[in-house]
């Protein structure tokens, strides 16, 4: 292991990690928004919209992100919709994550028993009070483990961004290996930087799971 080489590569990896984080963060935030929106549509079985969301979720969950990105990045310009690479990465991640989050939130909503709603109604609450104070908090705590798993999954998925020529960690590693053959150093840095992104998320996720667990056991 050549520490000098590592030192000289550090800034490149750092820059690449920031790019991964920036696009990843943006994609995940939108994934959560899309997920909530779609989960509500599916949960309340809104006609037409429910079916459309269903098709979107199945398409999205049953195809690889890499193929989705290729389609967004290389195919859309051919029908007159040019998309910037970074925007494309965030969009692809948001669409993929939206489908996973939607299923997570929907099953959370479904796990709240109907009679919980009724008991809240019997206390004189209106529909929106019931949703806000009784259903959502419980649905969320039930969703947390799967929510955390989704976040980790999406962050890992960002590793395919290099395929649409975004200069992320994978791109940087591959580029440097190709240029200077410092394979050991390049791969070590690659692992370290991904660990830097994902271990804190994993630890925080575990903590969050433990904190909300009280709600899962119900009555």
């Amino acid at each position: 292991m050549n520490w000098e080489v590592i030192g000289s590569y550090l800034p490149l990896y750092w820059k690449a990690m920031l790019l991964t984080l920036r696009i990843g963060w943006l994609g995940i935030v939108f994934a959560i928004l899309i997920g909530i929106f779609c989960a509500i549509i599916r949960f309340y079985k809104i006609p037409a919209a429910g079916q459309i969301v269903g098709v979107y979720i199945e398409l999205s969950r049953n195809t690889p992100l890499l193929v989705q990105l290729f389609f967004l990045y290389f195919a859309l310009p051919k029908i007159g919709i040019p998309v910037r690479a970074d925007f494309c990465g965030a969009l692809g991640l948001a669409l993929l994550g939206g489908a996973y989050m939607a299923e997570t939130f929907r099953s959370g909503l479904e796990s709240v028993a109907k009679i919980q709603t009724e008991s809240a109604l019997s206390l004189g609450m209106n529909r929106s009070q019931v949703v806000l104070h009784v259903i959502f908090p419980q649905a969320f705590s039930v969703s947390v483990p799967s929510f955390v798993a989704n976040i980790i999954f999406l962050l890992k998925e960002t590793s395919v961004f290099s395929a649409i020529s975004l200069m992320d960690l994978m791109f940087t590693a591959k580029d440097l290996i190709g240029l200077y053959y410092k394979t050991t150093e390049c791969l070590t840095l690659l692992v370290v930087f991904y660990a830097l992104i994902l271990i804190p998320v994993s630890v925080l996720g575990d903590r969050l799971e433990r904190r909300v667990r009280h709600a899962e056991f119900g009555n």
Partner: protein, 252 residues
């Protein structure tokens, strides 16, 4: 002595898919009265309570609370539900909130009452049912009997005019039944208006002003506890009451 009619059910029919749950059923609940509904499983007892609370749509007839129509689809329903409290068999405390938060949620959120005042009352009520020290616990940390007492307090804290109890001891271990029924008895002594669905016959006898016997979706018999339990008039009621007694085994 003329008492005011609080809830009036007139000639309602309730169907679920093809099956009639209630057929041409009528019942009036008067102020300060304790009505106990008994009957075999699946006879529609619980459905009556749910309909009184606007949780169940009906196909025919009408339910009113102080002359106002009870209908889950109308905007007025939340105001009526504030006045008609309900306690469920499965307690249905909110698992993500502490005991105190469970009790305070609706008074503060729905009735916009002062937080401090509600808290004081909640603590007082908890003390009354012997659960003051549980105020910061979560429901999962309580036994079934304790949860049910909290559920009663939660309903009481809304200052309801009528309380509906839906088989509140059916899910409890035998030794916990009494601690819950004691609370109901003390409420009855205070003169609270209550409608109680139960399988506890000796409790029904003790607490009821009037007993309603329901079978197959309609009212079979009605009377004071003394009349009903000692001298049931209908054959069905006799049969039903017999299911609670056992003959001594004669060995050959």
């Amino acid at each position: 002595m003329h008492k005011e009619e609080i809830i009036k059910i007139s000639h309602i029919t309730k169907r679920y898919e093809e099956n009639a749950i209630l057929e041409d059923f009528s019942l009036s609940v008067y102020e300060g009265e304790v009505v106990v509904i008994v009957g075999p499983s699946g006879c529609g007892k619980s459905t009556i309570l749910r309909i009184m609370n606007g949780l169940e749509p009906i196909q025919k007839g009408e339910v009113t609370y102080r002359g106002e129509k009870v209908d889950g689809k109308l905007g007025s329903i939340t105001r009526i539900r504030e006045k008609v409290g309900m306690v469920f068999q499965s307690y249905e405390l909110f698992p993500h909130k502490t005991i105190l938060q469970n009790i305070m949620l609706a008074p503060v959120l729905v009735q916009k009452r002062d937080k401090k005042e509600v808290k004081e009352e909640a603590l007082q009520l908890l003390n009354r049912v012997g659960l003051l020290e549980k105020k910061d616990s979560y429901p999962r940390q309580l036994s079934g009997g304790q949860k049910q007492r909290v559920a009663i307090v939660r309903a009481l804290c809304m200052h309801p005019e009528v309380l509906l109890f839906d088989e509140v001891t059916a899910a409890l271990d035998p030794e916990m039944v009494r601690e819950v029924l004691e609370v109901l008895l003390s409420l009855a002594k205070e003169g609270k208006t209550m409608v109680i669905v139960t399988h506890e016959m000796s409790f029904a006898k003790a607490v009821a002003d009037r007993v309603i016997f329901l079978d197959g979706g309609h009212l079979e018999e009605e009377g004071t506890p003394a009349e009903f339990f000692e001298h049931p008039k209908t054959e069905r009621a006799k049969q039903f009451l017999n299911t609670f007694t056992y003959d001594k085994v004669e060995r050959e």
